[in-house]
């Protein structure tokens, strides 16, 4: 197999930074497997994936990754508890039918959970809705309302509230700006809820 150095979105590099070497990783919604391959090559992780799209699964398996075709909403239940060190859900939770159930499963399956979200509280989003009165289109939210896969959008503050409700501990949190640069998310994050285009959370179930 050829050695590739996949070009990752800056956000995926930040996620990769959160993963400890030689750990077991499940990437839910792994796309074409770029993040998993990066983790397998650079951190020697045992990399597994779930992907809904046929093309993504085929591309991932062709890269030599262990990926199954499946749906986060229906197929996470079959995974045993604590089967992975990290479960990653990158830019996907807002597209699931039951984000709370999905997050509960992630916290059950992984010792740690890494979730990245687009922030619907971002000032540009608020401004477009407030001033133009139209559904906002931004870099992270680029689909018009009638064909967006994002059916459960939230703000950073909303997501933090959900982690509280699920008794999940936030180990680390990063605010992501539009260019992909990150900074540590301030707590409780009111300012970042306005200024960050997205966020990345490292979660663990509170024991």
């Amino acid at each position: 197999m050829l050695m590739r150095s996949p070009i990752l979105r800056p956000e995926l590099l930040r996620i990769a930074d959160m993963v400890a070497p030689s750990s077991r990783v499940l990437d839910v919604g792994c796309g074409d497997g770029a993040l998993l391959e990066h983790l397998a090559r650079s951190k020697n992780v045992d990399a597994r994936g779930i992907e809904l799209s046929q093309a993504g699964v085929n591309a991932s398996v062709a890269r030599g990754l262990s990926v199954i075709q499946g749906d986060a909403d229906t197929d996470l239940a079959e995974y045993p508890s604590r089967a992975f060190d990290y479960v990653i859900l990158s830019q996907t939770i807002q597209a699931t039918r039951q984000p709370k159930v999905v997050l509960e499963h992630l916290l059950r399956i992984g010792r740690f959970v890494i979730v990245s979200i687009p922030n619907f509280g971002f000032w540009k989003v608020r401004l477009k809705l407030a001033l133009a009165g139209r559904m906002p289109l931004t870099g992270m939210l680029s689909h018009p309302w009638y064909e967006t896969p994002n059916i459960h959008l939230c703000t950073i503050a909303d997501f933090v509230a959900l982690t509280d409700a699920l008794n999940a501990r936030i180990e680390r949190a990063l605010a992501v700006d539009e260019s992909g640069d990150v900074r540590t998310l301030s707590t409780p994050g009111y300012w970042d809820n306005l200024t960050a285009a997205g966020a990345i959370f490292l979660l663990a179930r509170a024991e």
Binding site: V57, N58, V61, G64, V67, G70
Partner: protein, 395 residues
């Protein structure tokens, strides 16, 4: 069509010369069967492609389907056609004979050199016929394991196969997990469905309804139930295709005529095609073998051997799996593959699952599906790397 119905006895001589290699085990190494019986002495016929490396770590077992045999690649000695997996097995193909030592054995119960109902029973000096014991998928795999012992191969790098071959792959992974580094079950199921048992029963009844079947004793009576076997093959062949593929290939096109005949000739191309499939099949296959092998598939229910839990069959498995299905396969539909994947996941196994979009039906695993080749090549190459097999030198 009648010219194709030559007696099987003339065929048997060809088979004897063409089985590749075979081994007959000593009588003290009988094959113990799930039925409680045994095959003694056991003969296994096989073909190999490629070269076994010094570490014996590049052995790649390919398991054939219901009507296949050990000729996965190369030219089939009876039909003169390419081996049944010519698309996958060969130099530079996903199962690369430049890298791997590919082994394909005729299943027990088969008719290409391994022990089967056509063998002569030493007790009676007549062919066994229906006194041959009923065999199972697990019996087939046991016989293959004996062959590997004979060849001095401890661990297989990979076991691959489609349909009944896929059943053997699953059985291998469950029965001998430490002997299987990677497993590639394609278009298969962990148990045969009621619908599939029903189709098989139609085929068996077609054979048994042929007067030339002679209650299974056709070899000693000098007959051959060619018509019954041909009908069984015709019915089964429909199940290997899809409605879309049949329409694409034949539609309602007429065969060698301008108008309907208002008779029962093969007016339609699809009729002519099926008749051809039936008549060429009987030239290379034994009717009683067809009964025994379909029975083995019907009896297959892997979970039943593990307290009803398929996950238990694979508990703690270190094998790397790639489970494959096809969108238009209604004989072994994707849901059957998903059940396997669910069980593997529940057991914490390393598994990939790919469903390929094609209209070619169940037979897609034997056909040109370029996307499948690219994906399976990725799986095999990654497994080879993990096994420490050297990458192929690139030209």
């Amino acid at each position: 069509m009648s010219t194709l119905f030559q007696p099987l006895s003339t065929l048997s001589g060809d088979v004897g010369a063409a089985i590749g290699e075979s081994v007959t085990f000593d009588a003290d190494r009988a094959l113990k069967l799930d039925s409680g019986g045994e095959i003694k002495p056991l003969t296994v016929a096989w073909k190999t492609y490629g070269t076994l490396n010094a570490q014996k770590s590049n052995a790649f077992l390919v398991c054939h389907a219901l009507t296949g045999d050990q000729y996965a690649a190369g030219t089939h000695p009876i039909t003169g056609k390419p081996g049944w997996w010519q698309t996958m097995v060969g130099p530079g193909l996903p199962i690369d004979t430049d890298r791997f030592f590919v082994i394909c054995a005729n299943v027990v119960g088969g008719c290409m050199g391994s022990s089967g109902p056509h063998d002569v029973d030493p007790a009676t000096n007549q062919p066994f016929g229906l006194s041959f014991p009923v065999i199972t998928i697990r019996d087939m795999v046991r016989a293959q394991a004996m062959l590997l012992d004979h060849l001095g191969i401890e661990q297989l790098f990979c076991v691959a196969g489609g349909s009944m071959g896929g059943m053997q792959v699953l059985q291998w992974a469950a029965s001998y997990p430490e002997r299987v580094f990677a497993a590639l079950p394609i278009a298969t199921a962990a148990r045969h469905s009621a619908q599939n048992i029903a189709f098989h029963e139609v085929g068996r009844q077609a054979i048994m309804a042929d007067p030339d079947w002679q209650a299974g004793d056709y070899l000693s009576k000098g007959t051959n139930p060619r018509k019954g076997l041909a009908v069984a093959r015709m019915a089964a062949h429909i199940t290997y295709l899809s409605e879309a593929a049949l329409h694409r290939k034949f539609g309602r096109t007429l065969q060698d005529r301008e108008a309907l005949s208002y008779r029962f000739d093969a007016d339609f191309q699809v009729e002519s095609y099926l008749r051809h499939q039936g008549s060429t099949f009987v030239d290379r296959f034994d009717a009683n073998s067809y009964l025994y092998i379909t029975r083995a598939m019907d009896y297959f229910d892997l979970a039943a051997d593990y307290g009803g839990s398929l996950a238990e069959a694979f508990r703690g498995s270190k094998t790397r799996f790639c489970v494959v299905s096809f969108t238009s396969d209604w004989l072994f539909p994707t849901i059957e593959s998903k059940k396997i994947v669910h069980a593997l996941n529940a057991g914490g196994a390393n598994v990939s699952f790919v469903e390929f979009e094609t209209d070619k039906g169940h037979d897609a695993f034997l056909l040109e599906v370029p996307e499948m080749f690219a994906t399976l090549r990725g799986f095999v190459d990654a497994a080879a790397e993990a096994r420490g097999l050297p990458a192929k030198a690139r030209a």
